[in-house]
Amino acid sequence: MTVLRETWIVFHRQMTLSLRNPTWSILMLSQPLLYLFLFGPLLKPITGQIAQGNDVNAYQVFIPGLIVQLGMFGAMFVGFALIAEYRAGVIEADRVTPASRIALLAGRVLRDVIVLVVQSLILIALSYPMGLRAPIGGVLLALVIVALLGATFASLSYSVALITKSEDALAPLLNGIAMPLLLSGILLPMSLGPTWLERLSDISPLKHIVEGVRALFRGDISSSTSMWGLFWVLLLTVIGLWSGARTFRKESA
């Protein structure tokens, strides 16, 4: 199919550009390690509180949150690269080709998703020796969720970048979105906090996604918690990709 071929071409160009940049590669690989080694020690003292009677260890709670956060924040800021490409005339040069507008977006999103999955794999692999216990099936399904979440946020980020076309507008906008998202119990379970805060976080789909990933890491693959997580991430993905595709279509006639 032409769209797939074109997506691959765009992906290949983006990936080559990223890999050729050594600073980018080092940052990409070291980011999960920093989280793991700098945040990890903070968890030890509160392991009991986090486990809340379940037979889990701190990493089973912490790592799902970390990879969801990685998927979200890693993808959220990709719009800046698109603005740089826009400035250099690359987006215009892409649009004047007969390539499908969807492919121009999808190829870029695919690069971001691959990066996130690689980062998550590194993170998970390194956590096993530190005490993570999680069934392989649950971990694989969790990676799918992270990939979908990354695709959602990357495509929204590109969409907003293409509409604003300015770093000055994009930066405060993304920061404004990022803050409430952190209140979804990503790093720490919301049940640690007061009831009103927990209720407030219930309205965030991200909370349910994180809870779902945690359930998967516990091995409760068919539990309603993990099913709801999957449901919400799929819904977000549909919304994200649809609006991204719409912007790429509209902005280029």
């Binding site: 032409t2 074109e6 071409i9 765009v10 290949h12 160009r13 080559t16 550009l17 050729r20 940049n21 740089a84 490409e85 400035r87 250099a88 005339g89 690359v90 215009e92 040069a93 892409d94 649009r95 004047v96 080709t97 007969p98 390539a99 076309k165 509209k250 280029s252 006639a253």
Partner: protein
């Protein structure tokens, strides 16, 4: 016909404070470009050149009007248009950090050109466009002229029949400009049709078979550079007298010539404009001689496109290009623009 456009209109909505403004960037443009022509779109910044070109290149939708570009209907078959045209934008086309050859190959593959063909064709174009040894270089390491030629390689990689170029030589030094003109003429020899915008008169004059003058979103004149110059102002003739007291007598003789206009006198010179100045001159000199008036000098200047522009629009093109704020108008409008 390579391009046939009728009644193209583009209106932008811009937000200024609380209100919205309608900017009528292009207000009913008709244009025809034949196969193998180099046609120049001449006008000051903000005249609607880029907007018209972006419409014809499928980058923005016309608010009204129709066009057939390279044999495909602009509204019905934009993908068909994209397949057949090359577009060299003002803003460049490659990422500064990217390797020039990689960008060219990726671009070609988006047109469906197989990788091996893209490499072969790209390297050949690098040779032809004077970019030896640049294939593996980052595009930010290229000079301004080289980068412009790289943009042209990007626009030519799928062998388009029609090439749009938006201000191809803006920002280049005179030598690089002259060099680029050579390359553009070379493209036409390979059978391509070229439609370019410029606000440089010398460029339009030196390069184009035909010129369309656009101002305030409307085409105000069109023709070959020669036709435009003849049609408008005629040649400028300047007579310098040995005896300043005879200025009025000479001015009277000059004004009585059929077609003479804009006669002016200075201390010892008489200037006026007249069509076909070269053929009028012998007769004029004879009648001045018969009156016993002695001339110290005679000059005839062919009109420039700037004279054309001045006559057509009442302002000089040159004034406009020298004012930086005016240069920003068009880009600003487009950046903030929201489709109506």
């Amino acid at each position: 016909m390579m391009i046939e456009a009728r009644g193209l209109v583009r209106t932008f909505k811009t937000k200024r404070g609380r209100g919205t403004n309608l900017v009528h960037a292009v207000q009913g443009v008709d244009l025809d470009v034949a196969d193998g022509e180099i046609v120049g779109f001449l006008g000051p910044n903000g005249a609607g050149k880029t907007t018209t070109m972006r419409m014809l290149a499928t980058l923005i939708k016309p608010t009204a009007g129709t066009a057939t570009v390279a044999g495909c209907d602009l509204a019905e078959d934009p993908v068909g248009v994209r397949r057949r045209i090359g577009y060299v934008a003002q803003s460049g086309s490659t990422l500064p950090e990217a390797i020039a050859g990689d960008e060219v190959v990726a671009h070609a593959r988006l047109y469906g050109v197989p990788k091996a063909t893209a490499i072969a064709r790209g390297q050949k174009l690098f040779d032809e466009l004077d970019l030896p040894g640049m294939w593996r270089r980052q595009s930010k390491t290229l000079s301004g002229g080289q980068r412009r030629r790289l943009d042209i390689v990007m626009g030519l990689i799928h062998d388009p029949k029609l090439i749009f170029m938006d201000e191809p030589t803006t920002g280049l030094d005179p030598q690089a400009r002259a060099n680029l003109w050579e390359h553009i003429r070379g493209l036409r020899e390979r059978g391509a049709t070229i439609f370019l915008t410029t606000h440089y008169l010398d460029e339009a004059d030196a390069l184009c078979d035909r010129i369309l003058v656009i101002d305030h979103g409307k085409i105000v004149a069109s023709g070959t550079p020669e036709e435009l110059k003849q049609q408008v102002s005629g040649d400028a003739v300047k007579l310098t007298l040995a005896d300043a007291s005879q200025v009025e007598m000479v001015s009277k003789i000059a004004s009585s010539l059929p077609g003479a206009t804009e006669a002016e006198t200075d201390s010892n010179t008489v200037t006026f404009r007249i069509p076909q100045g070269g053929s009028v001159l012998p007769g004029l000199l004879r009648s001045i001689d018969l009156q016993g008036i002695e001339l110290a000098g005679v000059e005839v200047h062919r009109p420039t496109l700037d004279d054309v522009f001045l006559t057509m629009t009442g302002r000089s093109l040159r004034d406009d290009t020298d004012t930086p704020p005016a240069a920003e108008t068009e880009t600003d409008t487009e950046k903030e623009a929201v489709t109506v």
